[in-house]
Symmetry: C2
């Protein structure tokens, strides 16, 4: 039975890394002692060690040990033996590219579908969708494919932003981009605001956190979903 | 001798499509009667016809006829016979993907290098760089490669935006993204603000328009370049 938390962001403004999620993570990881961390998305290009240190510090607050997957000799074995997995945010293209290079996409998908507790934040959430075509990241590396882990039946647009009223910038709004996506694609996309997350318990997929989320479907008006609602996409 | 204008944007706030560039375009296209327009980037997913209509309307002001490349029976011949070329903005991934599908990347590069007057705006400028890895667009389609036309020796980041002071959004600033790019890549990137453009006359590449531009090079501090400066990258 799948057991996943897919958060829009690791950090909300004015608080520490993962702080707002800690009460939820305490429950989510109740049965495990160690969490295997995948730091491949490297936010701002920081090192795997530096990134893993951030995760270690956050999870120490709830007495969980964090193991950086890059510290493990055999990555595939590391995943097979993981009690729980956390993929942090950063650049989605680089994350996907590394998962391809290390040939662990299938192992990862199998582990999640076997039901080990999974946490994704930002890129770590986006990667669980059908594909990464709704990332906001800059395509700084060319991955062999845009296909995601397909652990959920829709895509996530993380850090969803409402249009800035009165902006004089001519770049597209997030809503315009997501509508444009549906000219070429059918996949539903959930615009997940910072502070919201998706909870997955087996077949039960629900929206959690303090905000509504904006659902975009091909040839439909976008709709706002209330926190707590079940997602049947 | 190459003769190109690569603009950050087609439109600046509060004015019509291409309006701010019209005096420059009058000179740039002085010797030609017709301009072949490539509408493949489809901003917001609009049709090729609707997009071409916008270009026709703008260029009618300086008595130039615009031909949509999609209206031409043989696209390769259309390019070969073009007096001038304009590639408009929209989605860079879709633009590049279509240039691949229609197998006209080489024809386009040859035409530009032969010296027919070229105008690019936004995605139409980005595509002229070494690769499209500095686009701000959403990767809504997967092109066979990220390689650009390589008509200039650097990349352009169009619609360059300075960090928003006091923002509570946790998504990366443009500067953070461009610095992250240089963790994985060596190509210099010019952050071109809306209202600025690059003028290329043979080997003379210069910054034009009303703003400074921000130059990012690997392992260097970003620097502001004054309008009018020659670029030697």
């Amino acid at each position: 039975m799948k057991k996943m938390i897919l958060a829009s962001t690791s950090t909300i403004y004015g608080s520490d890394y993962l702080e707002y999620l800690i009460p939820i993570l305490k429950l989510h990881f109740k049965e495990v002692k160690t969490i295997t961390f995948i730091p491949f998305a490297r936010p701002g290009g920081i090192s795997y060690d530096a990134y893993t240190k951030m995760a270690k510090k956050a999870f120490a607050k709830i007495n969980k040990e964090v193991i950086g997957i890059h510290e493990v000799k055999n990555i595939k074995e590391g995943l097979l033996n993981a009690e729980a997995i956390f993929i942090g945010g950063g650049n989605t293209f680089e994350l996907l590219n590394q998962l391809h290079q290390k040939q662990i996409l299938i192992d990862l998908k199998e582990a999640i579908e076997r039901g080990i507790p999974y946490l994704g934040t930002s890129a770590g959430s986006v990667i669980c969708g059908l594909n990464i075509k709704n990332t906001n990241d800059m395509p700084i590396v060319y991955p062999p494919s845009f296909k995601g882990l397909r652990c959920i039946s829709f895509n996530i647009n993380a850090h969803y932003l409402d249009p800035v009223q009165g902006s004089q910038h001519m770049g597209e709004t997030r809503e315009t981009r997501l509508k444009e996506f549906h000219i070429y694609n059918d996949t539903p996309v959930l615009g997940l605001r910072e502070g919201s997350w998706i909870s997955i318990e087996g077949d039960k997929v629900s929206l959690q956190g303090k905000h509504t989320a904006r659902l975009f479907k091909k040839a439909c008006e976008a709709v706002e979903l209330e926190s707590g609602v079940l997602l049947d996409l």
